[in-house]
Symmetry: C2
Subunit: 389 residues, 2 copies
């Protein structure tokens, strides 16, 4: 077999794998140092609400019974879950066919890459979640990077682009913490419709929005059904990073430039590349989206947001400019002119803290560090004391 030229564009290691390597190397050389505290990968740490764990346990024990055993489920996810997602998260404005349940946004973006088939123009803000860039490279799409910097308030001018493009927009933005108001998203939607663009809207952090003026979905914007696909995730909102569950909304109104239905192709691609997510993860999600589940998670999310505030205040008190930490469980901190990986090494060797280098999210992230607020409170307090001492 010959090597795909697309893979040769993936030159560096996936950021979190490089972080892991450096940490392992450090541990090998400093086995007796005080314990490391993770501020790195945005991994949730708060245990499940009882209602979710008990629902899971019940479904698990059911698998050993004639009536409770479940084999293959629908490719697109359980109907009951699709219905609940539509009702609880979208006021019922999407039909079951327009919603698919996946094992997370990352694998769904790979399936979407297969749908694009390569050779499409893609626009991605820099810095951003590395998977946008890499899943575009893997299929051979052409990428334009739009810097999102202090200077433009971390929101690039998407309207400078002309002609059909796929626009990856993460909102609230990982890693910068940027949130747009309605008018800004309306402008992007209008532009996308005019130019025949498709907005790929990633709402992984929607549950962290506390301001009712900030949209939680692109579909709160008029005309978005004609130009947007939206992804969501249970990873951060419900602590499902280990259970693997997300969703995707592809409105039936979406068309290719030649008029065919994109939804029909999406369902065809899913049928060929996916067999649905785990039944148990879906049963857990039904509990998470119940009234009681939602109330429990509200408290957990509140705790993470408090973490963000504590962290931001601590860093600010040391004179570091910080962004995010509101509507997002990350703080985006400016350590320039120091390079991100240098600051990463300093934190590791001086404070025994693992952070995420901003340059791992794109060259415009150089100088920044992303701190995760998804850790446990005692760890966070210990980390802050290391920073401040």
């Amino acid at each position: 077999m010959r090597r795909s030229p697309n893979l040769q564009r993936l030159t560096t290691n996936y950021i979190f794998i490089e972080v892991k390597k450096r940490v392992e190397n450090y541990l090998k050389n400093h086995p007796h140092e005080r314990r490391l505290i993770h501020f790195g990968v945005g991994d949730t740490t708060h245990p499940f609400p009882d209602i979710v764990a008990e629902g899971l346990s019940e479904a698990s024990l059911g698998m050993a019974t004639e009536v409770g055993y479940k084999g293959y489920g629908p490719n697109f996810g359980l109907e009951s879950l699709r219905e609940t997602v539509s009702k609880v998260l979208y006021d019922g404005k999407f039909s079951l066919d327009e919603i698919s349940i996946s094992d997370g946004i990352k694998p769904d973006l790979a399936r979407f890459a297969l749908l694009t088939g390569g050779g499409q123009k893609v626009a991605i803000q820099d810095p951003s979640y590395p998977v946008y860039l890499e899943s575009s490279f893997i299929i051979g799409n052409q990428v334009t990077l739009l810097p999102a910097t202090k200077e433009n308030g971390f929101f690039p001018d998407w309207c400078l682009l002309k002609g059909p493009h796929l626009l990856f927009i993460c909102h609230p933005n990982n890693p910068t913490g940027y949130t747009a108001i309605r008018a800004q998203l309306q402008e992007v939607v209008n532009h996308a419709r005019k130019e025949g663009m498709l907005i790929l809207f990633d709402t992984a952090y929607r549950s962290f929005i506390t301001d009712p003026n900030i949209p939680r979905s692109i579909f709160e914007i008029e005309g978005a059904k004609e130009c947007a696909i939206e992804w969501g995730s249970f990873s951060k909102s419900a602590g499902f990073s280990g259970l693997r569950l997300g969703w995707c909304v592809v409105p039936k109104e979406l068309k290719y430039s030649t008029g065919e239905s994109i939804l029909e192709d999406w369902r065809r691609v899913l049928a060929t590349t996916f067999t649905g997510p785990s039944y148990l993860s879906q049963m857990a999600a039904l509990q998470a989206l119940s009234k009681e589940g939602q109330a429990d998670y509200q408290k957990i999310i509140q705790g993470y947001l408090e973490n963000g505030k504590l962290l931001k205040n601590a860093l600010s008190s040391k004179g570091v400019s910080c962004y995010g930490g509101e509507h997002l469980p990350f703080v985006w901190a400016d350590f320039s002119p120091h390079l991100s990986w240098d600051t990463f090494d300093t934190f590791l060797t001086k404070h025994q803290l693992i952070v995420t280098p901003g340059s791992g999210f794109g060259s415009s992230g150089e100088g920044f560090i992303r701190f995760s607020a998804l850790g446990k409170r005692p760890d966070l307090l210990e980390a802050i004391s290391r920073l401040l001492l």
Copy 2:
């Protein structure tokens, strides 16, 4: 966005979706007919052994505790599970790095398609699991179909192919039931090495092999580490079709024609397109691969194989030529000169039995019907009585 030309090659509906459509249509027009019995999709029906369900339940309840909660796991699967797969299924002859745990063979083939990048030559036997063909089409690989018919004993002559190809080999074969002996696979491996081919070996049904002379893995064949990737699945062997779990073995010896490591690219592709399978499914797999779990599953598999025997005998007594049903939980039955979909309709309307039309697996499957032996025994007996009356 313009439509990918690759998608236009997926002309028909995925077979099981077409089956579902016809069944729904039939039910709408015949609401008062006796209940339908499924012989269709190869879905397991036997409940989990207690040890597996209890392990799952325990891990589920743990998710609500500080010590038991798990977030992101390794992209390639839990180390403990990779170690167990290597030890229990491969006599420990692969390192942890060479094994990746996935959410099933179908989604893993989509990720492998991304690794190939398109433009590669692929050879697939006809009939076969439709995903080989469709995942090749989706990425734009060039497909040669090799008929597997009664005339060639359902094993095409792979050695007629010259030059680098990707060879999809399912063994034991779905749908024909064909199993190769060592000498035959040795010949294919020798040929593949000579021609620079890569064998993609699908062992979804390996647990159903009862004859020690039939290899359960391509890696029982000398030289296979230089020319083969192998996939396995917990769906049929452990009833995990709803939990979604499989594995892939990519030997470190595998190289592209230009010398780079295929394993390194595979791990890079996984890092970009996958976040690991569900933690709970992996915990269940650890129980399934335990000594007690394996003993329990041995009995379940024995029951399915008896189903196959009963079914084969019943069909044979009606004068139908049957294949498979041994080493595979399917019976491949020849109803030619009737067309497969006609026979499908006859079974549906006359016997209220849902079967799988052989032509759905490729044009050389025309005239055949695939019967699943994975149903419940009482259903199977009822179905047989409908056939024989």
